[in-house]
């Protein structure tokens, strides 16, 4: 039985593919240099943005659905222990077996063990973020088990020995011609006359995977939703590879984060309206499969579910950040993000890229893990992600919160403060008093002098050099507004009504 021991424990962070191994600005610099990548991403993100806006505008109650979705997820987080226990009871009663995994290693071990028990050395896989996060394919390979990705984009990435760069369309960074070339190079028996028509490429994938689907004995999947009051699981997909994996094999192993729960059936009507329109920009995705444990004579008779923590409980422990766990992995935030659009997903290092990844990854690993403290800064805080999020995760606010967690984590630890630390301290002093700011502004003429005849500053030292790498700074004015106002009103530093204006028309 689960009993709360009363001792508040420290958060236990996640492991696996959740880390940026180089800082975001550095990785972004490299990715920005890839013109083909930028063209591909620009094209794809603009296509999906337009589609999403069109289908979202069709629903008169979109905002009411978002409100419901947000509240349902908030409720799930508040009630998570009881809902997990309820789900476990129902799933088990319907013939399924539940396994709990604290972290990536434990989850991988469980899945490999279950596959070994079947005697099989090959499995088919439905696209799943959870298994990507724990690095399941690589682990299985080490164990002598071949895992075949069956989602078209995952297949492209796997054939190319590449990494996914988007949670919905992992090969978004590749264009059709590059994909054709990958198929020709890596797909056994590919037609040498293969064209780059997406329909033709989809047919090549169908032919390539057909035999695998029909003969596979074991499938591994993720899950989009799990209903606590019935033990039901749901997979949302497009191609039918999900249906193949969920229906034809004898054994089905599903790996799912603990936060994916919904209280019950009625909640599905909210999320199945929010998810497809937010992700692929369709009114509904082609296929959704729902199963409740084992159904005699229909589908896998050996059913397992691995419930994964891997840092989710740590994210939950952050009161400001916990709503990041509301994420339903639709990818709308990355599709509208101006930063993601230009850098692509690889720059974020983690399985979870884009705005949601920039908060979720450090929340799950802790801010001090590898280079994850650079992720919350990978945003101009433009707010497009918050507007697009179907469950209203306030990503900009959480980004700002995590920046303060980062700054605070370093306080007192560094011997020498950074330029940013010094600048912020000085600015805090100057900007927390009108008098002091006025004093600083007396120096404006010096800046004016520095700007010289062409009235612009083109090179600054230190971190400010980031600014002048592509922008000038105008020459400062001869006097500040404050000085002008004081002169106009003749009683410096004392606020008061403006005298009748003497220089009307002299404005500007």
């Amino acid at each position: 039985m689960s009993t709360f021991l009363g001792m508040p424990s420290l958060p236990v962070f996640g492991t696996g593919n959740l880390h940026a191994s180089e800082s975001f600005p550095k990785a972004a610099h490299r990715e920005l240099g890839n013109a083909q990548l930028r063209a591909n991403l620009g094209h794809a993100t603009h296509t999906i943005r337009d589609k999403r806006l069109k289908v979202v505008a069709e629903l008169p109650d979109w905002e009411q659905l978002r409100d419901a979705g947000s509240a349902i997820k908030e409720s799930v987080m508040a009630r998570l222990p009881e809902l997990l226990e309820q789900f476990e009871e129902n799933f088990t009663a319907r013939g399924g077996v539940i396994h709990w995994a604290r972290d990536a290693e434990e989850a991988n071990g469980i899945v490999a063990g279950l596959i070994r028990d079947t005697g099989e050395t090959e499995v088919v896989k439905v696209k799943s973020m959870a298994t990507q996060e724990i690095g399941l394919n690589e682990y299985l390979e080490e164990q002598g088990i071949a895992a075949f990705e069956t989602d078209l984009a995952e297949l492209i990435v796997q054939l190319d020995h590449d990494k996914p760069s988007h949670i919905l369309v992992p090969a978004i960074h590749k264009n059709r011609t590059e994909i054709r070339d990958i198929f020709l190079r890596e797909m056994p028996g590919a037609d040498p006359h293969l064209t780059d028509d997406p329909a033709v490429l989809a047919m090549a994938a169908r032919a390539h995977l057909r035999r695998k689907f029909l003969t596979a004995k074991v499938a591994v999947s993720g899950a989009n939703f799990a209903l606590a009051d019935s033990g039901t699981l749901a997979v949302v997909e497009s191609e039918g590879n999900g249906r193949m994996c969920l229906t034809l094999p004898e054994t089905l192993i599903t790996v799912m984060g603990v936060e994916k729960l919904l209280p019950g059936w009625q909640d599905l009507e909210v999320f199945m309206q929010l998810l497809p329109r937010s992700s692929t920009g369709e009114r509904m995705n082609p296929y959704t499969s729902l199963w409740t444990g084992v159904t005699k004579g229909d589908g896998p008779q050996d059913m397992h579910l691995v419930l994964l923590d891997n840092g989710r409980s740590a994210a939950l422990a952050d009161e400001m950040g916990r709503s990041a766990l509301h994420c339903i992995r639709c990818s709308a935030c990355m599709n509208v993000c101006p930063v993601y659009e230009r850098t692509g997903g690889h720059a974020y290092g983690s399985t979870y890229p884009g705005p949601i990844g920039a908060i979720l990854s450090p929340l799950m690993t802790g801010i001090e893990a590898e280079e994850n403290n650079s992720l919350p800064y990978a945003s101009s805080l433009c707010g497009a992600c918050y507007d697009a999020c179907p469950v209203k995760i306030n990503i900009p606010d959480i980004l700002v919160h995590l920046r303060s967690v980062d700054v605070d984590s370093k306080r007192g630890k560094k011997k020498i403060p950074t330029q940013m630390d010094v600048g912020m301290k000085a600015a805090s002093w100057a900007l927390s008093s009108g008098k002091r700011l006025g004093l600083v502004e007396k120096g404006l003429p010096i800046g004016r002098l520095a700007a010289g005849r062409d009235r612009k500053i083109t090179k600054l030292p230190g971190i400010a050099g980031g600014w002048t790498q592509s922008r000038d700074i105008p020459a400062p004015p001869a006097e500040s507004f404050r000085t002008w106002w004081a002169k106009e009103h003749q009683r410096p530093e004392i606020e008061g009504a403006r005298k009748p204006p003497q220089d009307k028309g002299d404005q500007a």
Partner: protein, 211 residues
């Protein structure tokens, strides 16, 4: 400590600030308010948008329409519970030799299903607004594999089973049955986010709406 107790303990500890579960505001639409003619029109529009083929016929015409759609099939499969009248247009004296029956007692092997051109099923409920048909594994729809492996799915939707919007539809079915929600033929947007129809699931979807 077991992983289960460990994880539940971590979660309880994470929630020690005692967040309250909010009331769920369900102010979204529960029904569409459309009449049957409008529902049919909307469903047809949405299905065609997905590149499904749609025919709207009177109930008595269903057998003829099915027969027409199966004209080129070398063989097809039906679940044992399929409305027998629907196949009347195909039964000549001795019945149709192209027909395979899939029953819980004698399910067809997957390899055999793979050689079958088409499948005919009924459906549990449809959603006009999203162009979605939901199969719930009832006897007139059969187990999930038969409507998946054959490349051509002919699906009959009774007009009375068309709901306007998703909440209305989901409230009509039992969520613990093995469910498949189908919105058009299989498709992918994985290449440059452009949708193309026809991948692993049936590449051809024919929907017969029976008035």
């Amino acid at each position: 400590m077991s992983a289960r107790d460990d994880i539940l303990g971590r979660i309880r500890s994470a929630l020690r600030d005692g967040p309250e579960a909010p009331q769920i505001p369900r102010k979204y639409r529960a029904t569409s308010g459309l009449d049957q003619a409008a529902l049919i029109e909307l469903l047809v529009d949405r299905l065609i948008d997905y590149k499904a083929h749609v025919s709207v016929v009177d109930a008595v015409e269903v057998p003829t329409r099915i027969a027409e759609l199966l004209a080129d099939a070398k063989c097809y499969v039906v679940p044992t519970g399929l409305d027998a009248g629907w196949l009347a247009g195909l039964d000549h004296e001795t019945g149709d030799r192209r027909r395979r029956l899939d029953s819980p007692a004698a399910p067809l092997p997957v390899a055999e299903l793979d050689g079958i051109d088409a499948v005919v099923t009924g459906s549990a409920v449809a959603v006009a607004e999203t162009g979605t048909i939901i199969l719930d594994g009832s006897p007139n729809q059969g187990r999930r594999a038969i409507s998946l492996v054959p490349d051509h799915h002919i699906c009959v939707v009774k007009a009375a089973d068309i709901a306007g919007i998703l909440p209305d539809a989901l409230r009509r079915i039992n969520g613990t049955r093995p469910l498949t929600m189908i919105s058009g033929p299989s498709a992918t947007s994985d290449i440059e986010l452009e949708r193309v129809e026809g991948v692993h699931g049936p590449r051809k979807l024919d929907v017969i709406i029976a008035r």
